[in-house]
């Protein structure tokens, strides 16, 4: 019955984005298509015959999950201590994801997650990592 912890919600949405980023990437290896092929052909070289973007997206997705779940390796590290690195990273990840046909929606979710992390920053939630605030009353 407390206030919403924005970073907690952002964390969950980022996990969703991460999962779909990986799944979309795997699909992208088999069904290769650039989202922008009607507009410009400059991305086609990255997508066909081998979908480099999709492989990059899988790596991105795994990175998101490593930061958000988080992996013990990342716990308390530079990436998880504050929200700024994630906001910057996800913005770049999302921009790249938009090139790949299957990864448009995860990219959108990443932007939503970024937006929520920004709100969390603005509200001063940065003191506690999201994992530790779960279930606690703030």
């Amino acid at each position: 019955m407390g206030k919403v912890v924005w970073s907690q919600w952002a964390n969950l949405i980022a996990i969703v984005a991460g999962v779909f980023e990986v799944v979309g990437g795997v699909f992208g290896l088999f069904y290769r298509l650039s989202m922008w092929e009607q507009v410009t052909s400059i991305f086609n070289a990255f997508v066909i015959p081998i979908n480099v973007i999709a492989i990059v997206c899988i790596v991105f997705g795994l990175a998101i999950l490593a930061i958000e779940v988080p992996l013990p390796l990342f716990k308390g590290s530079f990436f998880t201590r504050t929200y700024v690195p994630r906001i910057v990273l996800y913005t770049i990840f999302a921009a790249v994801s938009f090139i790949d046909y299957q990864n448009v929606n995860p990219g959108l979710y990443m932007y939503i997650s970024c937006l929520m992390y920004t709100i969390a920053l603005a509200k001063g939630e940065n003191k506690v990592a999201p994992k530790e605030t779960r279930g606690l009353k703030v």
């Binding site: 907690q8 969950l12 799944v23 298509l33 939503i112």
Partner: protein, 525 residues
């Protein structure tokens, strides 16, 4: 404490029957939708895409089924009426939110299948030279509404995740109202018709029609809720109890309820949209309806402030109950929706009942105990022969909430031993308090803490032992003299935190024997 295992829980006859129905209906629908598309010769162009089209159509049909079901378990007013019919024996209506979650899980699963299949479909549509992929995704009704629904689902599912819900119920509650837009998208999802034959004849599954039925029923539910809550309601009295508990008594002519039920309260002055559940603590024979509210969260504290129950500091130091207001004007308007069923209303169908309340969890039993008192006074018969009341409380001040009620009940003892109070105090006491109790306990006929003739126990009750003793005394015939032949029904009713509920459930199972049936019921919160 031996907890029941996963296998025991999921393969209990009733649950197993549900799972068979649930998985069976989904698999059946999937296969039907799959082959209806595959074997339709007139859809040859579409079928040339292959497996992914059939899969998406099968999953789509399952989704139509789930989307038409998902709103039904949250129609609390309609469920309330259905609970009174014979259906109550077939369908456990109190598990409505559990069913709501199962539908949601099924929906998520088939959404993923449906969406991934469509991602392949639209890709192949372009390969076949029919349409460019991106136009199918973002320029057709089906594509756009689908992506919008996915986004809404991401927001709704993440905010409904249990830690999120515990952290901020309001966020969950407001986000869940995105379902309105979700349903709107769903009804237009098949608009523009993608499944066409070569002669441009549309061949949809008309799934929106089924989904619309659920939507219309829910719409009526909301209208009914609005009408019922807008009937004249007036606060008549506010009493501030110790431990930051408030008793609100109000008058609503149209309000009908049974002991042990609960209602939803809305105070427009605090929030126009928030509805909070509270147990009714008065009995139907009372002139008023009352609820006890403990100030623990945002809403309840705001309510306390609004009703003037809190001093400037926000905390009351007084230990006695005070009537704050009983003027008719100057009090805020409230809206009440209810009353809704809870298992505790079946109490009167047992011969022996054991009522167990923890802290504020005593509220449904207050209503039941009051009703017992009225029944006795108006000499109305009921099956009930013995009532064992257990109240487990952390500290002494909490006793004050219902002390006057308990005292009145005890004084009016009907047959000797009809009603037994067992009050347990779990807090660690100060040395001086213990001394005080010892001195007063020996001399007085009343308990020094509760002022009742029944003595307060210290520590937690051992329910295994309690049930054993009960079984023995029933079998020896001392407990229920002049008892008819046949098995005795012992109803155990519990309201409080979950760990003790599990303990009680296990104890009930252990104590059961052919002559004495122990049935366990728990209030849902």
């Amino acid at each position: 404490m031996t907890d029941e295992t996963f296998f025991q829980r999921e393969f209990a006859p009733k649950r197993l029957a549900f799972w068979i129905f649930w998985f069976g209906s989904h698999i059946g629908l999937f296969i039907y939708g799959f082959f209806k598309q595959k074997d339709d010769a007139s859809l040859a162009t579409l079928n040339s895409i292959g497996l992914s089209v059939w899969t998406s159509r099968g999953a789509g049909l399952c989704l139509a089924y789930d989307c038409s079901l998902i709103l039904l378990p949250v129609c609390r007013n309609i469920i309330k009426y259905l609970r009174l019919t014979f259906l109550n024996r077939l369908i456990p209506f109190d598990e409505n939110l559990w069913f709501h979650r199962q539908v949601a899980y099924a929906m998520l699963f088939f959404t993923l299948i449906h969406t991934f299949a469509h991602y392949i479909n639209f890709f192949k549509v372009e390969v076949l030279g029919l349409f460019p992929t991106w136009t199918v995704h973002y320029k057709t009704w089906a594509g756009l509404t689908g992506h919008f629904m996915l986004l809404i689902m991401v927001l709704m599912y993440t905010s409904a995740y249990l830690p999120m819900r515990n952290q901020s119920f309001e966020t969950f509650w407001y986000t869940h109202h995105l379902s309105f837009f979700f349903m709107l998208c769903l009804y237009f999802h098949a608009y523009g018709c993608f499944v066409r034959t070569a002669n441009h004849v549309c061949k949809p599954y008309y799934s929106y029609r089924y989904a619309l039925v659920g939507g219309v029923i829910y719409f009526f539910e909301r209208v009914l809720r609005e009408i019922r809550s807008r009937r004249a309601t007036r606060i008549t009295k506010v009493i501030a109890h110790p431990e930051r508990a408030i008793e609100i008594q109000f008058d609503k002519r149209s309000f009908r309820y049974k002991p042990g039920q609960y209602l939803f309260l809305n105070v427009p002055a605090i929030s126009k949209w928030q509805w909070h559940p509270f147990t009714i603590t008065s009995a139907p024979d009372d002139q008023y309806v009352s609820i006890h509210v403990r100030q623990v969260g945002d809403f309840t504290t705001a309510l306390g402030d609004l009703l003037g129950c809190n001093n400037g500091s926000g905390k009351r130091s007084k230990t006695e109950s005070v009537v704050i207001q009983n003027k008719f004007d100057s009090l805020p308007t409230i809206r009440v929706d209810g009353a809704f069923g809870a298992p505790a209303e079946d109490v009167f169908d047992n011969e022996v009942v054991i009522l167990v309340g923890c802290g504020i969890g005593v509220t449904p039993f207050a209503s039941i105990l009051k009703n017992i008192w009225y029944q006795h006074r108006n000499s109305r018969p009921s099956k009930l022969r013995r009532v064992e009341f257990y109240w487990i409380c952390r500290d002494t001040e909490a006793f004050e909430w219902f002390q006057s009620l308990l005292k009145a009940l005890e004084a009016s003892q009907m047959e000797p031993g009809f009603l037994t109070f067992n009050i347990y105090l779990t807090q660690k006491l100060r040395q001086s308090t213990i001394q005080n109790i010892i001195i007063n306990d020996v001399s007085g006929t009343y308990d020094p803490l509760t002022d009742l003739t029944s003595r307060t126990h210290y520590g937690r009750p051992n329910f295994g032992q309690v049930f054993d003793d009960l079984t023995k005394s029933i079998q020896s015939g001392k407990y229920l003299p002049r008892k008819d032949k046949g098995p005795t029904n012992v109803g155990v009713y519990y309201c409080g935190p979950a760990p003790l509920a599990r303990t009680l459930k296990v104890a009930c199972k252990k104590a059961a024997n052919p002559d004495i049936k122990f049935s366990f019921h728990k209030e849902h919160f």
